[in-house]
Symmetry: D2
């Protein structure tokens, strides 16, 4: 397994990254991107640390691998994977680390769908997937996944768009591989991973076979351009003022494939349009389990910061605060319960792979996503207006005004102003800055939309059982 | 084990029951009460039936007992108990059967609290409880539980009330037993059970020791008066028009203890005021697990009837219907998931008794109770206005107008008018009659109030974990 | 103007009414229907009463007419109309009286749409409408409106249905009139009105011209069959136990047109399919203003009964009760505010007719409908479980058990048990019986569905203003 | 009236302002504060502009004054005041301008309460208030209001706190005036107004008379220290990337009164503790009407940006988008309707001053505040993930990557990428940055808390009317 240092070094590979329109010659030397790299390194540091080694690493035939890459075969595997993701995210300041989480979700899905294609089409994709998987696992690589096409007009299919490149597609096939063109949006951790796995974003029809494509390539592949989003720049921030964003960062790119060559052994779907939707869906289902796992430290942080502020402000006996607290707890613990049951009640898929229970995963994600913004409101309510009008570290340290801050911004006796302001700043970042804006938009759009989660939920529901019960109660014969 | 016939016979014991102000000489001969008795008999019929015997019965040392009376020791015990309750309730037309469910909850709680009192006070209550339990189990008795005092002014304690009897109390102690006076409200199935277990409704203080009392007595005990509520009378109804209420019924009484003598061996709490709250709470926690189990057929019936009406009305492609369906499914399945996890993650109490996880049980109950009314709205929305303007069986069968009903009240081709009307009538009873009003009020008030569930949830929540995470994220030292 | 007695007498006209499948020879002599008739008579009694005469009656050219028939020309007219509807509904036990309300809504709409058709088609419908209107007004008639077709498969248009009669249609035209066939569902007060106005239920296409039909006929017209719904039968009920339903009742019919002849002068739309949707919509918009007016006593009764129960139970200081009360008040008063503003900001239509502001009316209706069920939950929560387990009048009056009721069912000192039980019974009827089920289903389905209200709201919204503001803020030139 | 230039010049008066712990020698020369000053200047620019002059200015006895200072006497006055506030806020990028809004609210309240004190106590405060008001009006001053004390432990009263200065208080009285000590939190626009009006934050008891104090002083008064919050620094931002925050800014201070002298003629409350609560309340009620007025451009911007994104993304036919849009519209328009009715149904107070209807104002504010966060979620949902992963202006302009942005980030045909990105950036600022975090926390905490609004609503509700209706319906005699 690699050290975090090795991981960081590996990113100096000539990849074509742009930040604010400028080419970045060395991502490890770019202050803003470096923040994201150091955050990502948590996944490696955990394996290095005494405290987290047992959770972060598993052994197989005498070799140690990152537990992220363990193909889940039991509830226990899923629970440990979830625990690993939760722990990394807590260390990551409620921000998912992702460089192994998302890629392993894609690898699990590729195993299952490659197997299915091979069964139906006589292809040999599974062998390619396995080789890639072994290589990733043994080299302990960091992975990103590019899935969401830029899509253009949402009411049109790929071929109906203004130009044919709004969805990534194969523009040429050669004996050695394929040439792809297009762009993927929202590719997280691409600037700081080693390989990017590319997946289709939706089901395709027969005439859309050129859009049915999946593969993996190193990030420094020729023609691959990573246009980083500069949303939320915090590398110069005070850690007192911004306890989370000053240390934790994830960067997305518009990932442009400017006629990129992919060698055959790295191609996992090439025109089998009937399986594009299945691959998209299978990845997303694994990834939603990752998502609901990594949301847990975030929702716990909301509950915890509300509890701190309640205590620091002397609000324990305020009934309306108790009411809001009850809602926060119910929100967080329902999510936790569903994560746990999704693993305990996992389904057994092909190749002995355990799949988290789809119905429950989607209910959990929907529960998280549709109530998240309201929970921010409750935390803000308990914390008070200083969340957006409070002083900075510079004020606190100022010889001129520091004394006034210390005199006047105390809360309950026994709580230091320093601690109270730290708690307020935590609430600020969890609920009222670009850091929280990022989390809020992720709540809605990441790992598939809210509407997609509803559809998955309805599809997976055992409607027959309920209809039969209704018929029995109504006295309707069950013939129809 | 008793047959359902034996059960029914056993109710002819001279008990003092009043219905609409009139003494009922024989409850088995009173049409309205008989409806409740026949409904209750389901708990016995299941044991008699081939289909349900394995679920309804367990064996111990060669004897068969009703599974309701099995002291839970494992998750499996709790899951089977839940399954039994669910099955009985489905057979009961979404109405809980209760005559063994609630009593066994009380018996479990009495074991635990008697044990605790004995430990602290050197009393010997556990032995009394065990003897009573053995007797109930071997005679296969039907039980009711009287807990909620009439309470008078809710802002006042028992001693502050207008008169001292607003909470049940011991008015005299004799060498052989105690004399109690007072009244309990909302006592379900008291008219058709064999024994009533009486529990305190809340914590008591030192000067309220006379109110700290628990015991069990046969329903025909002298001085015990059962004033039945006539809410929801349906014994003459058409089964077509009222598929549920025409067959299923539960009756509550105002249960008056007019200086009733209870022999010592049936007294389980006598003045140990420190344990009144604990006994109330322990019973309610067991009973809430029963509650969330018996709510499952009800919520499934809501989902199922919505699915039927969607199909019968030709609404499968209406997006707003899909949206409402998604909410119904999410509602029902979140409840199911929490019931299941509460059993899987049970806690081990004293005497090897397994307790459903309190935090999760309360979250489940709160989830059920606070969203129930809105779910009725969704089902009504999908079903249409005929729910309250539709024809009766008499119209359908009428030589004069039946033909118009059959011509005009069809929905989607292929669905008979008969079936469509049956489905509509099911929705009517589930959402828009006194039957559904009863369920709705139960949702809010039965098994403890919504506010009590919130308090239990906040109390059981692992706040320390969340506060520590918040402190770690905020950079606050953990000293305070 | 007619007396209530004259009104009642006028219903003995040979109309063909069926109740529970039986022909009713005289509706005034049928106990259950008589309940509905007596309820409807309120609209006449108000004009007769000293207290309400000024509100119920207006003068024009020396003649007195029911104010319901006043064509609204100003905000003041609309406010008085709303006040009249509210007062009648309060006298009606929260149940709308409707026999003049709904018909006048239809008459207003017919004026406007007849005018529009005449303008576009050179027809002379307005003259027919005016004559009918004058006749109704001067004879002080009771009116019902039959609009909703039975519809069959909701995903299909009239011509795609299993048979062509799922929507009412013209089957033949003669020189003197038209012959119509079909059935309308949910026709309120048809059994106890004098004339029924028939309107199309939706927009029609060119090939659906036969379905574009509107007219008015007396209820005793040959071929017209009124199949009454028996939902919610209460004529034998105790007024103590059922303070509302024992006195107030509305009956809907499946209204069958078995080849009914309509003379030309009573036909208001005959094939002008382009105006079918307009007529449906215009009526519904007027009727929604009626609806939000008549909902006000209902929501006030919810607030008022919650206040009473709060007081009687001694719950004034319970914070969670205050929270629920705040939600009830906000719910009720937002509705009231929107009703008022819809009149104050009315629009001026053709013929000088004032139309309540459509956007606001629909917002009000949507607000009422989508929150109603949750409000029932709050009232039930505050009132307590006795709502469904309480005693009856017979218990209260019983020489055997009345004393126990009086002793044990008191609440706060100073409140009589009698009053407390009356308040509980009011809550019961407002929230937990077929009476409330009826109100709840009406909340969702009457006066157009929830989805229709959303569409109307979006259509009426000034989106251009908002888009221009967004463009200005974003710095987007306004060219597109 | 002053020009905007004069306004800006007037701020160079030696006031003691600190930003990030550093003394700011000239606020007009400090880039970040200058942003706030330029934003505030809108209130002056409107009076100067042709377009807005008529709205921004009123005439009295031949003199022109800012309309903000017009004492409202009619609904029309209130409607124009609301319109003025809305227009200024729209010009202010959805951020309230506030330098005349809040101060005039305080002046109105001071008139009423000074009058009341004079009536009860024989004091002569009204005369002082009038002189101050005339001076403000004729010099066209910018005003801030300092109300919220720092409060310390929320569960304790002023005298119970750790030190006596957690609430502002009079520490000494002299023949010429008073000396005050303490600190006020969240004082908006203090760094860029001319005078600060200081009001009590809550009701006081007899022994808290020293805390019952109100006055006004220039911002450069000796001992007055303004510690500005640096939350949300945007002065260097690209206007493309941050269309709102790059131009609009409001700054709050911790406002420290370090033994500040206030001359008698500027003292408006000095120990009359019985009126402290009344003054706090009266100001807040006027200010809440200001608040619900200035929220309208914000909610319209949410609706408008959702409409733009729906169009640009090609989502007009997506039903779930229509559903979310309907909720946004209902949210915004209910607020608008209540603002309007609060003015139309104003109450007439002392001195002929018109007060917006309190019940409706509080309902409006509560409606706005409790649904705001959910509305952000809907807008984010419609806009898509690019809100937090999109490119910057620098990317768009980059010779290297600009072409990819232009190729791939198009939406519907006919919409330029430039416009689409501008719309996305607007959504970003409205929902997912510190600018929106600021608005969200203001939604909850500004102009009084959510709980305070509920209390005001319940207090103002006509409960008697509802209780009497309930009694009438229940058949309860009205004696009690």
């Amino acid at each position: 397994m690699r050290t975090s240092k090795q991981y960081i070094e590996s990113l100096r590979d000539g990849r074509e990254v742009y930040f604010k329109g400028q080419r970045v010659p060395d991502v490890t030397a770019h202050a803003e991107i470096r923040l994201a790299i150091d955050h990502a390194a948590i996944d490696f540091e955990m394996a290095e640390s005494k405290e987290h080694h047992a959770l972060a690493v598993y052994e197989e035939e005498g070799n140690e691998f990152s537990r992220y890459f363990k193909l889940p075969r039991t509830s226990e595997d899923l629970l440990l994977r979830s625990q690993l993701i939760q722990t990394a995210t807590a260390l990551g300041g409620t921000l998912v680390v992702l460089i192994k989480e998302i890629g392993s979700d894609a690898l699990f899905a590729l195993h299952l769908v490659a197997h299915a294609i091979d069964q139906h089409k006589g292809t040999a994709y599974l062998d390619r997937v396995r080789k890639f998987y072994e290589s990733v696992r043994s080299h302990d690589l960091a992975l990103s996944v590019a899935q969401t096409d830029v899509k253009g007009d949402r009411s049109k299919s790929p071929l109906e768009q203004e130009h044919p490149d709004f969805y990534l597609r194969i523009v040429r096939e050669t004996p050695d591989g394929i040439i792809v063109r297009g762009a993927k949006a929202h590719t997280s951790v691409s600037v700081n991973s080693n390989e990017v796995i590319v997946l289709p974003t939706r089901a395709m029809k027969a005439d859309e076979a050129a859009y049915a494509v999946a593969f993996a390539i190193p990030l420094n592949t020729k023609g691959l351009k990573l246009i980083a989003s500069s949303y939320g720049a915090h590398h110069q921030d005070s850690n007192f003022d911004f306890p989370l964003a000053s240390k934790h960062r994830m960067i997305e790119t518009l990932t442009v494939f400017d006629d990129v060559f992919v060698p055959n052994e790295r191609v996992f779907l090439q025109g089998e349009w009937e399986f594009a939707g299945e691959l998209a869906k299978t990845f997303v289902e694994f990834h939603r389990f990752t998502a609901i796992s990594y949301k847990l430290p975030l929702v716990d942080a909301l509950v915890g910061s509300a509890l701190l502020m309640m205590e620091y402000n002397g609000l324990e006996r305020a009934k309306h605060v108790q009411e809001k607290l009850a809602r926060l707890i119910s929100y967080a613990e329902t999510l936790r319960a569903l994560v746990r049951l999704a693993a305990l009640d996992c389904e057994s898929g092909a190749l002995g792979i355990a799949l988290p229970r789809t119905l429950i995963v989607n209910m959990a994600k929907l529960h998280f996503a549709t109530n998240f913004h309201q929970m921010l409101a409750y935390v803000q309510d308990i914390a008070g207006g200083l969340v957006v009008t409070g002083p900075s570290e510079a004020d606190f340290e100022s010889p001129d005004v520091g004394k006034y801050i210390r005199k006047y911004l105390g809360g309950r006796a026994g709580v230091t102003v320093d601690d109270r302001l730290k708690a307020i700043n935590l609430v600020k970042e969890l609920t009222a800055t670009d850091f929280s804006g990022y989390q809020a938009v992720l709540a809605i759009h990441a790992e598939g939309s809210i509407e997609a989660e509803k559809l998955a939920m309805v599809r997976e529901h055992d409607s027959l059982r309920c209809k039969q019960l209704a018929k029995q109660l109504a006295g309707i014969a069950d013939a129809h």
